[in-house]
Symmetry: C2
Subunit: 208 residues, 2 copies
């Protein structure tokens, strides 16, 4: 591409370092910025610098936070006896959006993956063990994504956590998604769904 301006080329270069944004779309976005007021672009740019300067990792659960301890960990109305272990902060957002969970979280920051050179010591596992030991944790929910690495990590955590007495270790239920027709569900999921069948509790009300 013939851009004829090293500043625009640099801006395009920087924007295209973001995942899923190629050179052509980056140019489209940069030209959109170029049409704005200088103040608007300053606000745009400063948002990222301010974010880097101010966003911390929660000292307890490693969630993103503006303070030392995040809004979930410091909320007294949440049940500190249940800790839900997730891979990524986006998983917290997804679970929070369901409004079905009132316990606390623990962000591992990834899963054990020998191929990528990620071992247990690269993840927030020791802080989870410390937390479970020192706090009055009654239940740990393993909510990692299913798959080879997720399952390995789940098993590793299960082995570590089962050393402590009185802690219930659970995992997310897997089954046919609500709204999916049985004939289109994959065999593994449908198999698990029959295996882990639960007592019928009446009709699930449709949510609109």
């Amino acid at each position: 591409m013939n851009i004829h301006s090293k500043y625009i080329e640099n801006a395009v270069e920087q924007l295209s370092t973001l995942p899923g944004i190629g050179k052509k779309s980056a140019l489209r976005l940069v030209l959109n910025l170029l049409n704005r007021d200088k103040g608007e672009v300053e606000a745009f740019s400063n948002a990222f610098i301010e974010m880097m300067e101010n966003v911390k990792s929660c000292a307890l659960c490693h969630n993103i936070s503006d303070n030392e301890v995040c809004g979930i960990c410091s909320n007294p109305s949440r049940d500190s006896g249940i800790v839900c272990v997730v891979e990524d902060i986006r998983d917290i957002m997804a679970i929070e959006n369901t409004e079905s969970f009132k316990g606390l979280y623990h962000v591992l920051g990834g899963v054990i993956s020998p191929i990528d050179g990620i071992g247990p010591s690269d993840l927030n596992i020791s802080s989870l063990i410390d937390r479970v030991q020192s706090e009055n944790t009654k239940e740990v929910i393993l909510a990692l994504n299913s798959g080879m690495e997720g399952d390995t990590t789940n098993f590793y955590l299960y082995r570590k956590l089962s050393e402590f007495d009185g802690i219930k270790i659970t995992s997310l239920s897997r089954g046919v998604a609500i709204g999916t027709e049985l004939q289109y569900a994959d065999e593994l999921t449908l198999g698990k769904s029959i295996e882990n069948r639960a007592e019928f509790k009446g009709i699930i009300e449709p949510r609109f």
Copy 2:
């Protein structure tokens, strides 16, 4: 979305002002930035501020430029007698990529569109007229996108420019694109293509 950090919320908000980027993808991009070094994010942010501070509009053709006059207008090997009128700087890049044009450009900055409240005075038309009058322009190529607004603007420019003697006014040829099968070409294009048929000049060599 429950982000729990006003700084991240602000960064997501700013990124999602870009066209085609929604809140969810903006969050994905912001979390990618959050995983980088502070220095990298500063380089990212500064690219846009530097761009706003340094990029100018070429005094002659309104192309983007790091200097008063852009690299195309100041290039002595280009034919200053031919001016190609385009809507947008991206059109310049597209034509430059063909390496088929060695004249100069003039960026209108849009097309006449009464619905959007854009009249001739909102576009770089008077500077085009001045340029054509004062410089030794032999040919003006109208290269606006076809469509109601583009055609209206072409006609307006044609009326204005035909007042001056000795200026040839041309427009881009429209026809069946190279590589398109006739049966799939739209009727309007195929009709124009037959109407404006040109003398056969031998085989077009395939470009790889």
